[in-house]
Symmetry: C2
Subunit: 195 residues, 2 copies
């Protein structure tokens, strides 16, 4: 039974044999109540959390709270790779538009293509005519860039203006420690200082 | 519900807000079956795994398989800090004696004293007269050393011979990278080479 628990813990990302063992022992030695709570939380989340039919984010209801809200601006749509990105944007910015969650990025080798990312659904949405700007907030990685390129094409086809988050030096970073690609990009995209 | 799951995942050691988020998303996006299995494994482990009344290791039965086995040598008892140490010793050595699991180490600041480690029970066991050698395999840390010292006193009081795992250079290690304490100890404890 202990072996089953250790095995089962390995479904969690980044958890190998050793950490799974440590986790199992920790729960059994020090926090059985917590283990019970985790068991229940997992069971009900797995059973009851589905996807919002409009933005594909996780949701217990057919339409998530953001999509259902009357106070969000339907003219702006922000495409993100994962639900965690939505949290990050909500916490850091004053963005009041809507989201579209790709739940991944184009990655042909892993069998993730336009269909898996719901791009048909996105195209339909842009075709409805309400969205004016598609803010593409995929990660600044090779695959994220390819996905952004593809999304921009879809947007243009529907006469929606695509935009992309700015790249450059992170605030508080030191030039010396910035990777070369970022530094080269920031240097090339330098902006004139106006009074 | 997602928030509850993320919160609940933080009972696992080494899991903070960010990793809990990543784990929850991973389970919901990619492995709901695994999440379901983990939920069940946790529930039954928490409910059904107790402690062996003889060695204090985790066990589903009153007496664990090792303590119940007729083929183990009752003259040797190995005191270890945690069940994981038993696994490590079983896998690495040919030890055929029994174990006593402290489930911790003396740590007065954390409120862990002789009672929490079951040292009364250990003393009773040594008093029974069957055990001839107490192999003290606590970790080579300050607290592990203090615990070992205390255990050795108990053993001597019951005329049981205490022994401790050898300290020295790890096999395959390079002198240059060994910490100074270990090197000093290994140097001081050097043994004569006989033909």
């Amino acid at each position: 039974m202990l072996e089953q628990l250790i095995d089962a813990l390995r479904v969690l990302p980044g958890v190998g044999q050793k950490s799974a063992q440590r986790m199992a022992y920790h729960v059994l030695e020090r926090d059985r109540d917590g283990g019970q709570r985790l068991s229940e939380a997992l069971a009900s989340a797995v059973e009851r959390i589905g996807h919002c039919k409009r933005c594909r984010d996780f949701s217990e209801t057919e339409l998530c709270a953001t999509c259902a809200s009357a106070s969000r601006d339907g003219h702006q749509l922000c495409a993100i790779e994962s639900p965690a990105d939505r949290l990050a944007i909500e916490q850091a910015t004053g963005y009041r538009g809507l989201y579209f969650v790709l739940q991944g990025r184009l990655s042909p080798l892993d069998g993730i293509g336009p269909r898996e990312l719901g791009l048909d659904q996105l195209a339909d949405r842009l075709g409805e005519g309400e969205v004016r700007e598609l803010i593409i907030a995929t990660n600044p990685t090779v695959e994220g860039d390819a996905t952004a390129h593809y999304l921009a094409q879809i947007a243009r086809k529907h006469a929606v203006r695509p935009s992309r988050l700015a790249h450059g030096l992170p605030l508080g970073g030191e030039l010396e420690y910035i990777d070369r690609g970022t530094l080269a990009h920031a240097f090339g995209s330098r902006a004139e200082i106006t009074e």
